[in-house]
């Protein structure tokens, strides 16, 4: 069973148990084509596990993941977390993007005008034309991110997954990447899912949010989900939401362990 034209992903009551621990607990949501969704949660909330289930690298204990029916190409594009290439790796951005088109195929690639045209087109779409002929490992974090997005998009997936794409970027590059992804979602009719432990960089561009806490998920628009009552139910204890100057702070409001869960900058989430 697969999905129709205007849905990029349907996650149906997915439960994952690893080593007796429930990592995901009946997670269900749907991503419409052409929208940008943030997958928000602190470390250990289950973001990476959910990504692996969607990519088919991990089978859920119960439930199912439905992907669009695509003939002849891959339904899911993926940009992994914390990606830093060796600066001496003699591969241009253009070569890496081309491998996004047919890197899984066997045989030596013959020069192909259609292949070259498609690569150039997607490099233009992500604004990475100017740096496409440099060694990809020598580009800045933001530039590498664009090349990787092009690599994931060039095969025309219906769903684009990005695992913590903003983690290693400065504020300005992060904003540029978010704007780019929102534009890509609309123009290429892709459902874009971005995982992040901090939602503020995504707030202006995000159509929907999936908020993960202890393996449970709440989904909807930011207004629907990022509310004290919804998040308190999710966390299982009292949570406060403070909005200041267009930013949102989610604070665990309970007694002694009143440690703010957001914003919190963690590195090394697995």
């Amino acid at each position: 069973m697969s999905l129709g034209g205007d849905v990029g992903l349907r996650v149906q009551d997915v439960t994952v148990e690893l080593g007796g621990r429930r990592v995901l607990d009946e997670v269900r949501f749907e991503l419409p084509a052409g929208t940008l969704t943030g997958l928000i949660g602190s470390n250990g909330a289950g973001k990476t596990t959910l990504m692996r289930v969607i990519l088919g690298q991990l089978s859920p204990t119960r439930g199912a993941v439905l992907l669009p029916d695509v003939a002849g190409h891959r339904a899911v594009g993926y940009v992994p977390q914390k990606f830093l290439l060796d600066p001496d790796m003699p591969v241009r951005g253009r070569d890496l993007v081309a491998l996004g088109l047919d890197g899984h195929r066997l045989g030596f690639p013959l020069p192909n005008r259609e292949r070259r045209r498609r690569v150039a087109e997607i490099l233009r779409a992500v604004g990475a034309e100017a740096v496409a002929d440099e060694r990809v490992g020598r580009l800045s974090g933001g530039e590498q991110q664009r090349i990787l997005i092009a690599h994931a998009l060039v095969s025309r997936p219906r769903l684009l997954l990005l695992d913590e794409p903003l983690a290693n970027l400065d504020l300005r590059s992060a904003r540029e990447v978010v704007d780019l992804l929102a534009r890509v979602a609309r123009e290429q009719r892709v459902a874009v899912l971005i995982s992040a432990h901090e939602m503020n960089a995504l707030l202006p561009a995000m159509d929907r949010v999936i908020y993960l806490a202890d393996g449970r998920a709440a989904c909807g628009t930011a207004e629907e989900v990022v509310r004290p009552d919804v998040l308190s139910r999710l966390y299982g204890h009292r949570v406060e939401v403070i909005r200041v100057g267009g930013r949102v702070l989610v604070i665990a409001g309970d007694s002694d362990d009143a440690e703010p869960s957001h914003p919190h900058h963690h590195d090394g989430a697995f």
Binding site: Q57, P80, P90, D95, L99, H104, G107, F108
Partner: protein, 290 residues
């Protein structure tokens, strides 16, 4: 012009059937080694290549014991070494120095044993020099079909796995997201590497074989950022080194000490190192942006 040429190419070079066989055989081996070597450098597996070569040396030397040609021993033992390296997980090459180092030590230990046993026999005199340092002028022309078959198989294998191998080498995560098995691709590549190293060992000796695999490729990768061009450049640089080395070895017959001739392996490796230095100088020449 003719005088200059005669000074560079001492008499008889082009007429000699021994030289002809060495040029053909060395050329074929060099191209295979250079093409495979591009990925050895890309994947940071020079050390693995060295380990495969050292185990191959024990194969070549054991072949003397049973009276077979060294090539069969080189190939069989190199392929076995590749399998062992795969089993201990060399695809995460940079983290597996120790595993590679142990395989390498075992190789030389066995080589020492086999060469000792072989040297006690009349028929295997010169085995040590042949195995360790090669004897390109002594390989019979009849070996060419087998060399072409083995080399052709390695290059074909490389061409088949080219794209997945490139993606796995750049990023195992990106490859995994496309459903590519890094282990399977890595093992297929190690077999191609084992073949290339075995052929190179037959030509310039087990100790120097890694230089022929890694050297021209490393020079080529300094000159270009495009994988396909790097393959072409590596093959051309390799050919220049091997054929240039053969020529110098021929010429050296007229150098002191007279009428002995210096080993071709020395000249080939010296030219490989020179090409690497020149490629570096070219990359960092003044006035070149980035």
């Amino acid at each position: 012009m003719g005088a200059v040429l005669r000074a560079i190419v001492e008499p008889g070079f082009f007429a000699s059937p021994v030289v002809r066989a060495a040029v053909e055989l060395g050329g074929a081996v060099t191209v295979v080694a250079a093409l495979v070597g591009v990925f050895t450098v890309l994947r940071g597996q020079s050390f693995a290549a060295e380990a495969v070569g050292d185990i191959g040396a024990s194969g070549g030397s054991s072949a003397f014991l049973v009276g077979a040609g060294p090539l069969a021993g080189f190939v069989a033992f190199s392929a076995a070494a590749a399998t062992v390296l795969e089993l201990i997980g060399v695809q995460r090459a940079r983290g597996r120095d120790v595993a590679t180092g142990i395989v390498l030590g075992l190789g030389f230990g066995l080589t020492a044993l086999f060469l000792y046993l072989a040297s006690s026999r009349e028929s295997a005199s010169g085995a040590t020099a042949t195995i360790l340092f090669g004897s390109i002028f002594a390989i019979p022309a009849t070996a060419l079909p087998l060399v072409l078959l083995l080399g052709g198989t390695a290059v074909l294998l490389l061409a088949v796995i080219y794209r997945p191998l490139l993606l796995v080498s750049i990023s195992p995560e990106l490859a995994a997201a496309r459903g590519i098995s890094a282990r399977l691709v890595g093992f297929a590549y190690l077999l191609a590497l084992a073949t290339a190293v075995a052929l190179a060992a037959e030509t310039i000796g087990a100790i120097l074989s890694t230089a022929l695999v890694v050297g021209p490729a490393a020079s080529a990768l300094r000159l270009t950022s495009r994988p396909a061009r790097a393959l072409l450049a590596a093959a051309l640089i390799g050919l220049a080194c091997t054929w240039g080395g053969l020529l110098l070895a021929w010429d050296s017959y007229y150098w002191p000490p007279l009428h002995h001739g210096w080993p071709a392996s020395f000249f080939i490796v010296a030219l490989v190192v020179l090409s690497y230095l020149l490629a570096g100088a070219w990359t960092h020449r003044p006035g070149r942006g980035r």
